[in-house]
Amino acid sequence: MAKKGYMRPPTLLQKPWHFCPGCNHGIAHRLVAEVIDEMGLQNQTVGVGSVGCGVFSYEYFNFDGIGPSHGRSPAVATGVKRVLPDRLVFTYQGDGDLAAIGTTEMVHCAVRGENITIIFINNTLYGMTGGQMAPTTLMGQVTTTSPRGRGREQGLPFRVCEMLATAEGAAYVARVALFNPAQVNRAKKAIRRAFETQMAGLGFSMVEMLSACPTNWGLSPLEALKYVEEKMVPTYPLGEFKVPEGVK
């Protein structure tokens, strides 16, 4: 961000988005597009979407895209990457998609050290289906399926980065947030490092983004950002959990 001014990244098609007002999915989409453009990879990218509020990613990005079934994006990406090892292959997944139904696929991409990148949007619940509890839901958080607030019976928050970092095959693992411009810049850097990890062939990479869902949290866009900072970050500490030699 040395140069001033700002232009829409060319890999983002100019279309209205279905995201709710203040939804951080939009910021995440934009950052991914910016990094791909900056790395000059538009023509070498295959984006693998998912099912969740990010389901239309392939309609918004201006590069090849796939819409897989719910949770299986890392497996689909594996199929793509084995066929096209020189392409940038990334998945874009929500916490329900990645950390619930898609746990096996995610874990084994990390364990195999599959040379792909996961962009992981953690908004603590199932946004698209109307705000049900997810494995990432905070303790005490009210959702449509934890109407009394998440209690011990409903499990404990799933810290995905911490878990995947234990896999030898995981090369770059970071958790970032999007609640203010500085965090957004950091998030962008993490995406860049993840993609660089992949293009250098160093193995599995993932960037988790703590992300606001004003609609299902019942908060204004601004309150939602504050919620991320004050409520989510203590449960999901930010930072780089693994950085490969070649990318430091």
């Binding site: 279905h18 995201f19 709710c20 007002p21 389901v55 698209m128 609609t215």
Partner: protein, 190 residues
């Protein structure tokens, strides 16, 4: 007797609860009732609508393509749903957000500045109640008293203090229709 009501607008305008009021009033009158909301992903940020059927007989299909009464709470809904009103039917337009008149000649239509009326009544979030009152007046859909009963049910407990304002909003909507009808002839729909 079978009447279908389509109510459409943005999500958040109280469109679905207008439908519920109607439906419960129907039940209260001993009618058969069905209610079909729009739902799911396309709701978000987009339009919401519901279709209420009130009938003396078993309702075979809860869906109709040409409802007798249509309420549009905003401009896109007017665009989308004016064409489906059954010939001879009634179209109620929230003129505060839909900035044109109805174009069809074969239906009765009312343009109601619902927001302005709601503001006047002192219930700025009550445009839907204004429209509901207008609807009841314009169509004799269900007995207004039945609707009030449900209103009481809904607001009982800690929100009871909101009852009078809501009733006032409905009454203001009805009054607006009566004003219009003074100048045109009212169409009763079957």
């Amino acid at each position: 007797m079978k009447k279908e009501f389509l109510i459409a607008g943005f999500g958040g305008q109280g469109v679905l609860s207008m439908g519920l009021f109607l439906a419960y009033a129907g039940i209260d009158e001993g009618k058969k009732v069905s209610y079909v909301p729009s739902y799911g992903a396309e709701m978000r940020g987009g339009t919401a609508n519901c279709l209420v059927t009130i009938s003396d007989r078993e309702i075979s299909s809860p869906l109709v393509s040409d409802p007798g009464v249509v309420v549009v709470m905003n401009q896109p809904s007017l665009h989308k749903f004016e064409p489906v009103v059954r010939p001879g039917g009634v179209l109620l337009i929230n003129a505060s957000l839909a900035h044109r008149e109805a174009q069809r000649q074969d239906i009765t239509s009312y343009s109601i500045p619902a927001q302005e009326i709601a503001n006047q009544v002192g219930l700025p979030r009550g445009a839907n109640m204004v429209m509901l009152g207008a609807l009841l007046e314009a169509t004799e859909a269900v007995d207004t008293t039945a609707t009030y009963k449900y209103l009481v049910k809904t607001f009982r407990g800690k929100h009871l203090d909101k009852m009078p304002l809501n009733m006032a909003a409905m009454e203001a909507g009805a009054e607006f229709i009566r004003g219009c009808q003074a100048t045109s002839s009212k169409t009763s729909i079957a």
